[in-house]
């Protein structure tokens, strides 16, 4: 079959504005080539900064921000769209090539109904009449599994949920019957139980309409379910390009191998788990008013071990962290540390109590003061808790930098000069500086690329062994849970539905929610999606 999309030696550049310096030109994509046949799906995979979104947008001859296509050709059915005049490009967009953005909530205009926006491109490009388009929209809503397909189009964006919006966006892309759709990380922002529904819906829709697709993501397991071919990108270069079987089962390049095997490291479960260092008993908590967020939560964390608290958004896991640190006093129950009940409000705790429980945050960017150097950030707890100053402080900071595998050259850098992984490491050093007993990790790796995240997890495990630290690790990612925990607590809507040693929690028989959760995590093998859909008993939670 003839190639529908033929990208040859694509080069993309941009203008960077480094602070305090004149703007300079940088290259983002360095000559990438690939082809796509009609009805096939190509997965573009890579970490952030790999250039995958940029390449996807190039298929629409579009550059976001100051990004420009500087070389190469993008041939759509043999015609180079980069040479077209503005009117020609506008003709292609929305008619022959459509785009599904990462954040559907932001991409829809809050002032208009969903249906109007879904059919807009088809009608404006003259592909079909308004009534025909409306009928097609209803058909697509049905195929994509949206509730009340006939009346769904009359709703406004703020009236429907995130997963529904993502599917509406897919409908919007499919409506004009394009030749190619570019999916830009469509399920990244969704809960894992929703993701599986949306993924299935997308796959079904693509198959029924024989549309070709570029599927961009950083999650190899997801892309393995949906693509025919995969291209691995890194720093704007193609690392490997082949069929999905070959990439997943027999990767050739080292980098690809790393990506494929990233979730395989497992921690050996600790044997003795009854004596608790940190105990949460019967905790109820509410936010302003009577809106109860936690219901009778009881878990405990033994010394030197990791308790993983896993749940999706709205499960209350972050609230639990706030209760433990004393930011949100519980309305019932208490938090005991080392045998003593901690005062419910952090303002009532003394320095020692505050020192012993430290916290790691999800977004390392906002967890550090941008106007302080690494020395200040790590050094402050040293001064505040132990009175270290001057040369002594510097010596200890250097020691800590060593522990987090960063050199002394970083000591005078500002957070803005560090990479994502480095920032999180500095936050870890800051937590270590207080010499705590417990570190509360609130999704510290969720915002990081998979390889970087794996590095951070390895570091945390090593530090745990060296310093006998205890972790309460909050996450929504099952793979991470398998890799680092000794015991697990599964939370759903403010309650602990399952708690115990890892081996017991992850073994059947399961309660309904844990069952759903575990089944929804994409596995890095072909055909997983079909299996799950076939064995689906429970309807999607919160469709």
């Amino acid at each position: 079959m003839a190639d529908m999309l033929d990208v040859r030696d694509l080069k993309i550049g941009a203008t960077a504005y480094p602070p305090g310096e004149p703007p300079k030109d940088i290259k983002i994509v360095h000559g990438v080539s690939f082809t796509l046949e009609k009805g096939k799906v190509l997965g573009l995979i890579g970490e952030s900064g790999a250039g995958k979104s940029t390449i996807g947008l190039a298929a629409l001859a579009y550059g976001r921000g100051g990004v420009r296509i500087t070389g190469g050709e993008v041939l759509l059915d043999g015609e180079n769209i980069l040479d077209l005049p503005a009117s020609g490009i506008r003709d292609i967009r929305g008619r022959r090539v459509c785009y599904v953005a990462q954040s559907a909530a932001a991409a829809f205009n809050p002032a208009h109904r969903l249906g109007d926006q879904v059919i807009e491109a088809a009608v404006r490009h003259g592909v079909m009449s308004r009534s025909e388009a409306w009928e097609r929209a209803k058909y697509l809503f049905r195929v994509l599994g949206l509730p009340d397909p006939d009346s769904f189009g009359r709703r406004y964006p703020h009236q429907v949920s995130g997963g529904q919006l993502q599917r509406a966006m897919t409908a919007m892309a499919l409506c004009p019957g394009p030749e190619l759709i570019v999916f830009d990380e469509p399920t990244t922002a969704l809960d894992v139980t929703t993701q599986i529904d949306v993924l299935a819906a997308i796959k079904r829709a693509i198959e029924e309409t024989h549309t070709a697709a570029l599927y961009i993501t950083h999650d190899l397991a997801v892309v393995a379910q949906i693509s025919d071919d995969i291209m691995v990108l890194r720093h704007g270069n193609m690392v490997e390009y082949g069929s999905v079987q070959q990439i997943i089962e027999a990767p050739e390049e080292d980098y690809t191998r790393e990506l494929v095997s990233v979730t395989e490291s497992l921690k050996q479960e600790a044997p003795e788990q009854s004596e608790a260092l940190l105990r949460i008993s019967g905790v109820d908590a509410s936010y302003a008013g009577d809106f109860k967020v936690l219901h009778d939560v009881s878990v405990h964390l033994p010394r030197g071990q990791t308790l993983a608290v896993v749940g999706e958004s709205g499960s209350g896991k972050s609230t639990l962290a706030r209760v433990i640190t004393g930011l949100l006093p519980p309305s019932k129950g208490d938090v005991t540390f080392n045998g003593t009940v901690l005062p419910p409000k952090f303002a009532d705790r003394n320095k020692e109590q505050l020192r012993q429980v430290q916290m790691l945050y999800q977004m390392a960017d906002t967890a550090m003061n941008p106007r302080q150097t690494v020395r200040d950030i790590i050094g402050r707890p040293l001064t505040f808790y132990f009175g270290l100053r001057g040369a002594e402080k510097t010596r200890r900071v250097t020691e800590l930098l060593d522990q987090i595998e960063m050199g002394t050259g970083f000591i005078d850098r500002y957070p803005a000069e560090l990479s994502g992984g480095q920032k999180q490491r500095v936050c870890i050093a800051r937590a270590l500086a207080a010499e705590p007993e417990v570190i509360l990790c609130d999704e510290p790796t969720s915002a990081l690329d998979p390889l970087v995240a794996a590095g951070i997890l390895k570091l945390l495990l090593r530090l745990q062994k060296e310093s006998d630290l205890s972790y309460l690790f909050i996450t929504h990612d099952i793979a991470t849970v398998r890799a680092i925990s000794d015991s697990i607590a599964v939370m759903y809507q403010g309650r602990v539905v399952r708690f115990g040693p890892k081996s017991k929690v992850l073994a059947p028989p399961f309660d309904d929610y844990t069952d759903l959760l575990l089944k929804s995590v994409p596995e890095m093998r072909l055909g997983w999606l079909e299996e799950v859909l076939a064995t689906r008993r429970m309807g999607s939670a919160g469709h």
Partner: protein, 275 residues
């Protein structure tokens, strides 16, 4: 900081401000005549013996203008510094303490802002005796409401960042959090706002003086000089326009510098903040 990165407009602004400050500080040294000295005939034209002509009583307009710079700038600066300190202190406290303190201060602020500044000033000045320090105090208190609103918005933006929470959980006191965590991150917008407040103070003071309620004679700020000479306009005498132009000029210069400050990307990830 790269000097070349500063645009021409900002340079012009800085130059203008510098010139005005120079006049203000060294007024007695550079003014050719005394502030109240009658040197010639009424409303002599520009050029000739007196560079800017004479005013409605025959005083040298240039000298009046230079002394006026002193009065205008010092009063406006005093009022701005006062209003800024008050506004920033109250707003940061409200943002950090939260709860009823925040609610109370914000409601009070809203109430004061619901009366237009000029009207409020007119009412208050109708009652109080006409002293310089009262004038400065009135200007400062009224203007602090605007500073409060901005300061609170900026502080709240920072307060919700996790590093402030991390500092709180460490056990840091309120003063540390305000001065070492929040303040350094708000310098850019605050500095720009200071500039805007100063420009406003200059214009506001001039307006009050023009209406006869600001600086009282024989001292004169630029607004007062306009008031003295306004009757000449009907006769085609442009003397009143000269102090007016000085006011406008200073305000423009300050606005140019503020515009430049606002244009520098003050992103939170900017680290040193010189980007």
């Amino acid at each position: 900081m790269k000097w070349r990165a500063i645009p021409l407009s900002a340079w012009i602004g800085l130059a203008g401000i510098a010139a005005a400050l120079f006049c203000a500080i060294f007024a007695p040294l550079i003014a050719p005549y005394g502030e109240r000295e009658v040197v010639g005939d009424i409303w002599l034209p520009i050029g000739g013996e007196f560079l800017l002509g004479t005013d409605n009583l025959g005083r040298d307009l240039l000298s009046r203008l230079i002394y006026g710079a002193q009065t205008t700038i010092f009063v406006a600066l005093a009022a701005t510094v006062l209003s800024f300190s008050l506004g920033v202190m109250l707003s940061f406290t409200a943002a950090v303490v939260g709860g009823w303190t925040d609610q109370g201060l914000s409601r009070l602020n809203d109430l004061m802002m619901s009366i237009p500044t000029l009207i409020f000033a007119l009412i208050v000045l109708a009652v109080l005796p006409q002293e310089l320090w009262i004038l400065i105090l009135v200007m400062a208190v009224l203007d602090s409401t605007r500073v409060f609103r901005l300061g609170r918005a900026v502080a709240v933006d920072i307060t919700v960042m996790e590093f402030v929470e991390a500092a709180r959980l460490r056990g840091e006191g309120r003063l540390w959090i305000i001065f070492r965590e929040i303040l350094p991150n708000t310098l850019s917008p605050l500095l720009a706002e200071f500039g805007l407040r100063f420009a406003f103070a200059v214009l506001f003071l001039s307006t009050l003086s023009f209406l006869g309620l600001g600086i009282q004679p024989p001292e004169a700020d630029w607004g007062g000089i306009v008031k003295d000479n306004k009757d000449g306009i009907i006769f085609g005498i442009p003397a009143a326009l000269i102090p007016g132009a000085a006011i406008a000029g200073l305000a423009i210069c300050v606005n140019l510098v503020v515009d430049w400050l606002l244009n520098r990307t003050a992103s939170l990830k900017g680290g040193r903040g010189d980007g």
